[in-house]
């Protein structure tokens, strides 16, 4: 019997014995089975800034895990050795949802991040683990492309505390040509996340000639301002040639600095530059008085003056989840 998976907009029709496009949701005897459940292929203690989350428990570590598989097929994927592989080819370790908060606490982590590939496709593992993590008093963070249908996304958002969504471009053409996906579901996920009051940070990888024109960057920033708000942190990240996209050069520093100017002039308060060391690229300033609130360098927090989520100088509330 053919099964249709309604988890993500791909809505794969899966024949018996076959998997969907994400490789890990399999039709076994007419039942859809998540075959990587409880079996991450990678588990590490990362600084939360590596995700990147800059306004969510800064300076803490996060137990970060992933199973193989992804529902997008980005030509520039940095983690293709786990995202674009079949589970048969990648070793994994048993780790039940109940064990995750214990492991996180043992390593002094304040949160668990479902990351590296895309937690959307190992949905059931993420959802069950999130409940155990929350019960243990820790927080949950998703690092995702947000390519998922609205109903399951809403359900998942209720179980987590922070979401970092990759908004790869503001054109359907980019999503179709580079990622094998479409734009609208990602925009819908962003709006749903915001409406549910879950902490959001957005990342945009600037790829030379593909999504780095002033017009595109401005449109993306304006969309965020109009639909999510000026306080949503936006991270521009530097591209490096990788996987099936080795023909393009790394993003020049000047392009990232220009993108930051455009974002600020569009009205965004918190704009960061990642994968590159440039002056103030990772620092947080108060949008009211301009005070330096958090100084960072390469995932490390050097200084954090935020008190009770507010600027110590002018008392302005700073968007985020603070310690």
């Amino acid at each position: 019997m053919i099964i249709r998976c309604d988890l993500c907009p791909k809505r794969c029709m899966i024949e018996p014995g076959q998997s969907g496009e994400c490789r890990i949701r399999v039709n076994l005897d007419g039942r859809l089975v998540a075959v990587t459940y409880g079996h991450p292929c990678t588990v590490h203690v990362d600084p939360i800034e590596k995700k990147p989350f800059f306004h969510f428990l800064p300076g803490t570590t996060s137990l970060s895990l992933a199973t193989v598989g992804c529902n997008l097929h980005c030509k520039n994927c940095q983690n293709w050795e786990i995202s674009q592989q079949n589970p048969e080819e990648v070793p994994a370790s048993p780790l039940s949802p109940a064990e995750i908060p214990k492991l996180a606490a043992a390593h002094g982590c304040r949160s668990v991040s479902y990351t590296y590939t895309d937690p959307v496709v190992y949905y059931e593992y993420t959802a069950d683990s999130s409940l155990c993590v929350r019960e243990a008093g820790l927080k949950n963070a998703l690092v995702t492309a947000g390519y998922i249908n609205r109903e399951p996304w809403t359900e998942l958002c209720r179980k987590v505390d922070a979401v970092r969504i990759d908004l790869k471009a503001l054109t359907d053409k980019f999503y179709q040509d580079i990622c094998g996906a479409t734009l609208q579901p990602v925009l819908d996920s962003l709006i749903t996340t915001r409406s549910l009051g879950v902490h959001i940070e957005v990342i945009n990888l600037l790829i030379p000639t593909l999504n780095d024109s002033d017009r595109e960057i401005r449109a993306l920033c304006q969309w965020i301002v109009q639909n999510l708000g000026r306080e949503i942190p936006l991270h521009f990240s530097r591209f490096f040639p990788n996987y099936q996209m080795k023909n393009l050069p790394p993003t020049p520093a000047s392009a990232l600095i220009r993108a930051r100017e455009i974002a600020r002039s569009a009205g965004l308060y918190y704009v960061y530059l990642g994968n590159i060391l440039v002056p103030d690229g990772e620092n947080t300033f108060c949008p009211e008085c301009g005070d330096l609130l958090i100084e960072r360098r390469a995932f490390e927090v050097l200084k954090n003056t935020i008190e009770n989520g507010r600027c110590p100088r002018c008392n302005r509330q700073i968007y985020g989840v603070w310690l």
Partner: protein, 72 residues
């Protein structure tokens, strides 16, 4: 030159309707069967798999404590 019998060339209304109905049936019957089959088997949440199909190794605690080499 003799002109062809127009009744042989032009299809009658009944003939036309019969053909259209037959064509619709040829397309619609398998499609309806396919739709019914897939309607019954739409799934959002999958069953939790018990057996990982690839190689299984115990968790390496040493590597857990180090930051991952993967992006994100």
């Amino acid at each position: 030159m003799q002109s062809p019998d127009i009744r042989r060339v032009v299809m009658s209304r009944r003939g036309f309707l019969l053909r259209i109905t037959a064509l619709c049936a040829v397309i619609a019957v398998p499609m309806a069967r396919w739709i019914r089959q897939t309607e019954d088997t739409r799934v959002v949440q999958a069953l939790r798999g018990r057996y990982y199909p690839g190689p299984v190794r115990p968790l390496d605690q040493e590597s857990v404590s180090r930051p991952g080499k993967w992006a994100g």
